[in-house]
């Protein structure tokens, strides 16, 4: 049901990911609204920000993603051009301005991305210019993935992907979540989906 890349490097986690998820699924579904739920960090009905580490990661990833292609393009351009001081100056300015701009966008996107888990289900808000607010009701969740790339593993982050049976919006993915929080979210949502299924069949 879920795919968890098990990392050997990340041994400092309190529990191994696989066993943690199995435990949660097999136990009676925890109700996230009840105060006795052993998940104090998942606050309901509040728009939660992404952790600060996610901003650092976004900055690094954007820098890498912008600087390398830009440097290659500018290098080729400079070699092909007549190597005037002016063109060097322009290239240098571009090399500063464009990454700064993309990093600014990435950090702003980080700031504007909020998630929320409430009685109705899971919600993600994104963006300022292109704003979107997606809600997936808890009983529409088909299956869930927690994915981690190498960089995300290094930062202790994860991507949560919520699949529905829909067509266009059939997967809502949120990256930059704290790993443990992502797992807890996944387990809560999966348990809720299972509970709703039982109600449905009755």
């Amino acid at each position: 049901m879920t795919t968890i890349p098990i990392s050997t490097s990340n041994v400092d986690d309190e529990h191994a990911p696989m066993t943690a998820s199995e435990d949660h699924v097999s136990t009676p579904p925890p109700l996230p609204v009840e105060p006795a739920v052993p998940a104090p960090q998942v606050e309901t009905d509040v728009w939660q920000p992404l952790p600060l580490r996610a901003r650092t990661l976004a900055t690094i990833a954007t820098l890498i993603g912008t600087l390398i292609p830009l440097a290659i393009a500018l290098g080729v351009g400079l070699i092909a051009a007549d190597r005037q001081p002016l063109s060097f100056a322009i290239a240098g300015a571009l090399l500063l301005v464009i990454p700064a701009w993309t990093v600014w966008i990435a950090r702003r996107r980080w700031l504007r991305t909020r998630w929320r888990l409430d009685d109705d289900g899971f919600g993600v808000r994104r963006g300022h210019m292109w704003r979107s607010d997606t809600r997936v009701p808890g009983n529409r969740v088909q299956h869930l993935d927690v994915r981690r790339g190498p960089l995300e593993r290094a930062f202790g982050l994860a991507t949560l992907i919520v699949h529905t049976a829909g067509t266009r919006n059939s997967a809502l993915s949120l990256s930059g979540l704290d790993f443990e929080e992502a797992e807890r979210l996944r387990d809560t949502l999966a348990a809720r989906a299972a509970r709703d299924d039982d109600h449905d069949d009755a």
Binding site: G121, M129, R131, S132, R135, P137, N139, T164, A165, T167
Partner: protein
């Protein structure tokens, strides 16, 4: 042997339980034909173009391939068994790797029975059972005897509902509910459908392309050029003025149009002749086709979303098209339009608007359809709609002005028309949300209505682009299962931000209260 024969009274008599059954003994022939269809081109190439007879080329070599196919087909027939169980169908198949597949009746979304002309001559049919998602049917039975196929369909219909098994504890079959015919198309209606549709265009284009490929030595091209030159020579004999040339051109165009329409009518007769939509209990059954017949049946609760369409030609005949999305496999077989051939895409290919609405009311359990209270869009929606046109027109006019100087500015005359269209569109478009359904209507020239029950919605999204922000608008996108990517999505565009936020919140809350039943 037609499919319109009444159902056999007791499917249990034809399909005894707990008894392994095989396909029709002639089944291997159809498997062979299907396999041959894939290999026919390479075989033909081998046979005719592979070598000349005189250099000792073994012409019988391809026959080995055909022989192997025969063996495989017979083998497939021998290894395919199915068994009717209490609540599921068990299919055993496989040549070397054996597989046993269990399909609960309640999970079958669509039962499609398909007959080509050859099937009809032999009194057999192909049965495909489809469940939600996936790209291939759950089970494909090539082929069953026609009464057996119908009995299987009825059995799935009866046992698919949970309460049917309870209602008949002593084994007596539940009395088959009398089917209600919701729509039956006469031949004249099907001809109208052909006149409205543009499918003929595809045929003409395909025929031209094919003739260019098949005819040797570019004979087709030469023919076209020669005839064209002759025709033009003949025409220019008496048509020396611009006027006459125009008339000739119009004549050619008119001929092409008539040809295309004729093919459209022919195609729709082939596809939709004898179209009948029936409701039997909770299932809908559609049967159609002139030479080959097909019959497919879906439980009505599997319908995910509805679309009504009305083009200009539709309005000329006062007709509409009613289509549905179901969550069953879309691109079956890997063949592009396999589903369009077998599946149940249109509940009413053509019907008067009132009939379409009545069908919706009857099947969707939406007594209030069509909604009485269409909500208007944002008052400035037409400006937002026109903005794109404005940019394109100004750009084009700039290009025209470059070539034709001031005459290019005449292109700006398009703008009043564009404004008129945008205003009409915005005035007609609207949405309706109540505690049963979400509906959107759009368009002015060609109109669409798209709606879904709240229980079928999967996710809600509020979107706002920078342009939307300037206008104080937002849109709400709703996702349903099984939506065709080519049809208009279910989205409420150009709402005022307040309305959009309110609808977004209401729907997100309402969907979470409804169990997913699909």
């Amino acid at each position: 042997m037609t499919m319109t024969t009444p159902e056999p009274a007791a499917p249990e008599a034809l399909l005894p339980e707990n008894h392994e059954r095989r396909l029709h003994p002639g089944s291997w022939l159809f498997v062979l034909l299907q396999n041959l269809r894939q290999f026919i081109v390479p075989l033909a190439v081998l046979l005719f173009a592979g070598g000349r007879r005189d250099d000792g080329y073994p012409w019988w070599l391809p026959m080995i391939g055909v022989g192997a196919l025969v063996v495989v087909s017979v083998w497939q027939y021998l290894t395919f068994r199915y068994r009717i169980d209490d609540d599921r169908l068990i299919v055993r198949s496989g040549l070397l790797e054996r597989s046993v597949r269990q399909i609960p009746y309640s999970r079958i979304h669509n039962v499609a029975i398909h007959q080509t002309l050859l099937h009809r001559l032999m009194g057999v049919a192909e049965v495909r059972l489809e469940s939600a998602g996936g790209t291939k049917p759950e089970a494909q039975m090539r082929v069953l005897r026609m009464p057996e196929a119908l009995a299987l369909e009825q059995l799935i219909r009866d046992r698919g509902r949970a309460d049917a098994a309870v209602a008949a504890p002593d084994g007596t079959p539940v009395a088959a509910p009398e089917g209600t015919t919701l729509l039956a198309l006469s031949t004249w209606e099907v001809v109208k459908l052909g006149l409205i549709s543009n499918r003929g265009l595809i045929v003409v284009a395909g025929a031209v392309a094919l003739s260019f490929q098949v005819m040797p030595e570019r004979a087709m091209g030469r023919l076209l050029v020669e005839y064209g030159r002759e025709a033009f020579g003949y025409a220019s004999g008496f048509a020396t003025t611009w006027m006459a040339k125009g008339v000739v051109l119009m004549g050619v165009l008119a001929t092409a149009l008539v040809l295309i329409r004729a093919f459209s009518v022919l195609l729709s007769l082939l596809r939709y002749h004898g179209f009948r939509l029936q409701r039997q209990g909770r299932r809908l059954t559609v049967e159609r086709g002139l030479l080959g017949r097909s019959r497919s049946s879906v439980p009505r609760r599997r319908i995910q979303a509805w679309t009504q369409q009305e083009g200009v030609l539709h309005r000329l005949f006062a007709r509409r098209t009613l289509e549905i999305d179901t969550a069953s496999a879309r691109t079956s077989d890997g063949q592009g339009n396999a589903n369009a051939q077998h599946g149940l895409d249109a509940l009413a290919p053509i019907a008067p608007p009132d009939t379409c609405d009545a069908i919706v009311r009857d099947i969707a359990l939406l007594p209030s359809w069509p909604p009485q209270h269409w909500q208007p869009l944002h008052p400035r929606a037409w400006q937002r709609l026109m903005l794109g046109d404005l940019f394109v027109t100004v750009g084009l006019c700039a290009a025209l002005a470059w070539f034709f100087h001031w005459w290019g500015a005449l292109g700006l005359l398009w703008l009043p028309w564009s404004m008129f269209v945008a205003r009409r569109h915005a005035a007609r478009a609207g949405y309706a949300v109540d505690d049963a359904l979400v509906a959107v209507r759009e368009g002015w020239w060609s109109r669409t209505w798209r709606f879904a029950e709240l229980g079928k919605l999967q996710a809600v999204e509020l979107r706002q682009s920078p342009l939307d922000r300037r206008f104080g608008m937002a849109s709400v996108w709703l996702d349903t299962a099984g939506a065709n990517p080519l049809t208009t999505p279910l989205r409420l565009r150009f709402l005022s931000l307040d309305d959009a936020e309110r609808i977004h919140a209401t729907l997100a809350h309402a969907i979470a209260r409804r169990p997913l039943r699909w």
